[in-house]
């Protein structure tokens, strides 16, 4: 049996659709159900639905053998896991955005509002830019509008929210998509099963 952690929401549903087409459907799974665990002995899988940011934790700590997590989460938390496949879904970008008329004032630290503290620190460290991090948990776009931050570091999918709030992307830090990750110990002890799952999943991704 392979235990799979999926992120709740659209990304998890897309990942489940891929896994299902690859032969890992779960008879017990109903999208509207409030159940958190679904098993299918015929397919040899058990699915957990968890918060997207927690998928890597479940996998790193071995509660799940494999999981689907966004590249943003993997770069933010750096879990000690194998990253076995790019599922080419849930595509978006990690960007630096600010009000359209923003100009950097190098004479003072840059105020950066973000959920992705480690990503932001690493990016601005690389530029040698002194920053002040403002950790937020949502509605990041509001911070520069209200003058609380100079820029934001956040995920941009279509850019519609930014545009509606008169914000503009100034830098694209990296591209994001969903990745299949595996616990390193599980990979050793369930290598044949996990390798087969990766192979079939890659077949679906490339189909």
């Amino acid at each position: 049996m392979i235990n799979i952690a999926l992120p709740k929401g659209r990304l998890g549903e897309r990942a489940y659709a891929l896994l299902s087409s690859a032969g890992y459907a779960c008879g017990e799974y109903f999208p509207d159900s409030r159940k958190l665990v679904f098993c299918d002995t015929d397919s040899g899988v058990s699915y957990f639905w968890v918060k997207p940011a927690d998928v890597a934790v479940y996998v790193e700590r071995g509660a799940a053998d494999v999981g689907v997590a966004g590249k943003d989460i993997l770069l933010e938390y750096s879990p000690d896991v194998y990253e076995l496949s790019n599922l080419e879904t849930g595509k978006c970008s990690m960007c630096v955005a600010a009000p359209a008329d923003w100009q950097d004032d190098m004479s003072r630290p840059l105020r950066v509002a973000t959920k992705f503290v480690n990503v932001a620190k690493k990016y601005f460290d690389g530029l040698g830019r002194d920053i002040e991090i403002i950790k937020l948990n949502g509605s990041i776009e509001l911070a520069p509008i209200l003058g609380m931050a100079d820029v934001i570091v956040d995920i941009v999918e279509t850019g519609k929210t930014l545009k509606e709030n008169n914000l503009k992307v100034f830098e694209n830090i990296f591209e994001i998509s969903a990745r299949l990750i595996a616990n390193k110990a599980s990979y050793n002890f369930k290598k044949d099963q996990i390798t087969e799952l990766v192979k079939r999943l890659n077949g679906e991704v490339n189909a």
Partner: protein, 355 residues
């Protein structure tokens, strides 16, 4: 079995191999760890001020103490230790952890390397259950970096991608950084080498692109040959996704896993470069077993005794005699005047009502 029992059994095992116990001090100069921070598996060292302004640290690792304190003479030393180590967790709390390990320092030949793998397999086997020892070779990985034409900054990224078995991001990285196309093409094959050690080494030899990779593959072949047919052979696997710091490690390196424990429980390798850093001659190889990772693994077996003997005022001697009989017969027993809540029993003898 519990962690304490395992430590005793491991000490017996290591002494049967003629290893001497090494007992380092609890405190070291903080600079020992600061200067070798990449050698440590946890970078969160607990430091404090000592007498005369010295900055000290509670040791987070034992190998650095071994290397810095052993005299540089012609003797080959084979040591083991069973010590507490101290670290800060990611959340910042102080942690005291049990760690046991083995270090060979001096003239390290092929027999020493094979004996270390043998000791690792016996160590993991004593824990019980299935285990796997992943073996890699720093020379092979460094040779591959050279074949790619990667500079230091690029190598750091490639090491990370190797550790993740991340072939998809490697494709983009190798293209945008102009790495050697021929070498880049075999990245996927290298991260997927595995399975039976002899077959895996033959595959590694096929992919060798330069002298460094060939030499490393030859060393792995020697190791595979010397261990061929041993009962633990199937548990030893080649896996080039282990990559320790190239500043310290230079030969074979390993990670050990036990079924049921989500993280590696053992790691180590050949670290001649660390010795050289301290201007010491010879080589060194060793491993550490992280007993902290095993505490939960043993938890299910803990808290169970064969018998409970409950005694009353007039049956104390009777209870003691019965307990002596059980222990002499190899069983486990708890003596109590009331039923204890912290332990379960297979059988209960209640002597409280008897005179």
């Amino acid at each position: 079995m519990c962690v304490d029992e395992l430590i005793i059994k491991l000490a017996e095992l290591y002494e049967r191999h003629g290893l001497r116990r090494y007992k380092p001090g609890c405190f070291e100069d903080y600079s020992l760890y600061l200067d070798n921070i990449d050698f440590l598996i946890s970078k969160n060292v607990i430091a404090f001020g000592g007498a005369e302004g010295r900055l000290l640290a509670l040791r987070p690792d034992v190998t650095l103490s071994v290397v810095s304190h052993l005299p540089d003479d012609k003797n080959t030393r084979k040591l083991y230790y069973a010590e507490k180590v101290y670290r800060r967790s990611e959340g910042g709390e102080f942690k005291e952890l049990d760690q046991t390990g083995v270090e060979f320092v001096g003239d390290i030949d092929r027999v020493c390397e094979s004996e270390i793998v043998w000791l690792i397999c016996d160590t993991l086997s004593l824990i019980g259950g299935r285990y796997i020892l992943d073996v890699s070779h720093m020379g092979y990985i460094e040779g591959y970096m050279r074949a790619l034409g990667a500079d230091n900054a690029q190598s750091r990224v490639v090491y990370e991608l190797l550790r993740e078995k991340n072939a998809h991001d490697f494709v983009g990285f190798s293209r945008t950084n102009g790495l050697d196309c021929g070498a880049a093409e075999i990245f996927d094959s290298i991260i997927n080498i595995g399975g039976n050690m002899a077959d895996a080494v033959a595959e590694a030899k096929r992919y060798a692109l330069n002298d460094d990779m060939e030499r490393a593959a030859d060393e792995l072949e020697c190791l595979a040959r010397s261990l061929a047919g041993w009962e633990f052979c199937d548990n030893v696997r080649l896996n080039f996704s282990i990559a320790n710091s190239a500043d310290y490690y230079n030969g074979i390196i390993f990670n050990g896993y036990v079924d049921g424990v989500p993280k590696r429980v053992l790691s180590g390798g050949r670290y001649d470069k660390l010795l050289k850093k301290y201007s010491k001659s010879g080589g060194a190889i060793g491993f550490a077993l992280y007993l902290g990772e095993l505490e939960r693994y043993f938890k299910t077996a803990a808290g169970v005794a064969d018998s409970l003997i409950l005694y009353g005022v007039n049956t104390q001697r009777e209870a003691l005699l019965r307990a002596r009989e059980i222990i002499a017969g190899g069983g486990t027993v708890r003596l109590a005047s009331e039923v204890p809540e912290d332990i379960k029993f297979k059988s209960v003898t209640d002597l409280r009502k008897f005179k």
